[in-house]
């Protein structure tokens, strides 16, 4: 669809914000809403990146200090947020684009997720027949189920609606900035010059990246559960060729995986998607 027309059209008009945890629902009668520790906004990007044929919508989570939500693989405990879209006929939402997570927790229980604020973006494709010039009103609805945790976990639900088109340009610009920031946090594809391999040795997996820059720290986040022991230390060794990260195979797995897929974060902030077949010796 023509980008300029889409950009002119998808200016968000109003926003309905409704996010409350179950404790709030239960004590509504008491006249006081206990803190839910997370508020969520449904936002959209006015100007998707050049060449991107799809509009992006997103769930912007604001979390109280110390509280967290989970990545697509939550790790040892917790569960990722689930989003159910209700879109006008012909609109299709794609899967969530997950920013690089943080390691959370301590000791024998390690989780993967986000603190403070995170924008979970989803591409939305409009039907070819959609008439941008006519500026018809459409509404996107997202139902979000999640748990937000710190020392305890609180389940939450939010029913959010976004009505288009928008007339508030300042709001649209502010939201565009949020999307731009979140795009920087999406793990990049590994450079073509890297040679990524993995081998299983007894109860360990060694992830090797030849051509990776010298790095002081590396952390691997598996996309699937029960692949690595999340709480085991990840041991980094470097040599002239690149880096080697030793991971422990999960106790929940019958044996090493055939493929290692996930995110590797170098020096705390450089995040890459990687996938490699696992060679067993």
């Amino acid at each position: 669809m023509p980008l300029a027309r889409a950009a002119k059209y998808f200016v968000v008009r109003t926003l309905l914000l409704a996010a409350f945890g179950l404790p709030a629902l239960l004590s509504a009668a008491a006249g006081q809403s206990p803190p839910s520790h997370a508020t969520i906004e449904l936002i959209a990007d006015l100007t998707p990146p050049a060449g991107n044929p799809r509009l992006q919508a997103g769930l912007l989570f604001h979390l109280d200090p110390g509280w967290h939500i989970y990545w697509q693989n939550a790790g040892d405990s917790g569960e990722p947020p689930k989003i159910t879209w209700n879109l006008p006929a012909g609109f299709i939402a794609g899967p969530i684009e997950w920013p690089a997570p943080k390691r959370l927790g301590s000791g024998s229980i390690i989780d993967y997720g986000y603190e403070d604020q995170v924008l979970l973006m989803a591409p939305i494709r409009a039907p070819m027949s959609f008439d941008y010039e006519g500026r018809p009103n459409v509404q996107f609805v997202a139902d979000v189920k999640y748990v937000v945790c710190r020392e305890i976990c609180i389940p939450g639900k939010a029913h959010l609606a976004l009505a288009l088109p928008l007339t508030n340009d300042a709001q649209a610009r502010e939201w565009h900035e949020e999307f731009e920031q979140a795009r920087k946090e999406i793990p990049k594809l590994a450079p073509a010059s890297w040679k990524i391999s993995a081998r299983a040795a007894q109860n360990n997996l060694v992830l090797s990246i030849a051509g990776a820059p010298q790095t002081k720290s590396a952390t691997f986040f598996p996309q699937a559960a029960s692949i690595i022991e999340n709480s085991a230390p990840q041991v980094l060794a470097t040599d002239r060729a690149g880096i080697h990260l030793t991971l422990k195979v999960s106790d929940q797995a019958a044996g090493p995986p055939t493929r290692l897929k996930g995110v590797v974060v170098l020096d705390g902030s450089l995040a890459y998607q990687i996938a490699a077949p696992v060679v067993s010796k």
Binding site: S77, I109, E151, P233, D239, T246, K248
Partner: protein
């Protein structure tokens, strides 16, 4: 020089990793013996249950995942069905004092009555010794030990990792399935799953 230090550091961490208690009990291993006290002051030793199936159920009444299975009566139903068939059901509370799920014996006995729960006993594990022995990570987490003392199931109660009671009826209950298979002499088809729930509240 830098590379030399990096290698030394690497080996130091590797040594630390190897020395840390990273070898948890795996399916097919002998379940490690332990002694713990229940909410009636009785001492239980796992090995005294040799010859019986034993279920270990990690519990924290404040955790929404535990609440899902208790407010719905799902856990209580499992407890009743299987203790009636001679399975020893031990609910384990590994929450440290001051943390969510920590309870006094009297308080827990009231809860068991109120929830119409039917475990053989509720073991109080405030130091987390039993939890760490089995590397329990979540509440709920379910472990099944066969009459030969071998661990035959470790993981989630069912296959719907949510806090929603509506998900119980459509879920595959791994505990039910494993006990039905094992008590009829069959191999446990799904022996290991990622347990879902809140983290066990061990001491810091």
């Amino acid at each position: 020089m830098k590379r030399y230090f990096a290698t030394i550091l690497g080996f130091a961490f590797l040594l630390a990793a190897l020395l840390s208690p990273a070898w948890a009990v795996r399916i097919g291993d002998k379940a490690p013996d332990f002694t713990a006290t229940d909410t009636n002051g009785q001492s239980h030793k796992l090995s005294e249950y040799a010859g019986k199936f034993v279920v270990l159920e990690w519990h924290n009444r404040g955790c929404p995942y535990t609440q899902k299975h208790y407010t719905s009566g799902n856990m209580e139903r499992l407890q009743r069905e299987w203790t009636a068939k001679g399975v020893i059901w031990l609910t384990v509370i590994s929450s440290a004092p001051g943390k969510q799920g920590y309870v006094t014996a009297a308080d827990e006995n009231s809860y068991v009555k109120e929830m119409k729960a039917a475990p053989t006993a509720v073991l109080l594990d405030p130091t987390g010794a039993v939890g760490h022995l089995y590397d329990a990570k979540t509440t709920p987490q379910m472990i099944i030990i066969n009459p030969q003392g071998v661990m035959i199931y470790d993981g989630a109660i069912d296959d719907k990792a949510t806090t929603d009671t509506a998900d119980i009826s459509g879920a595959k209950n791994y505990v039910q399935q494993a006990l039905e298979e094992a008590t009829s002499g069959k191999a446990v088809s799904v022996a290991s799953t990622r347990p879902y729930g809140c983290s066990v509240k061990y001491p810091d």
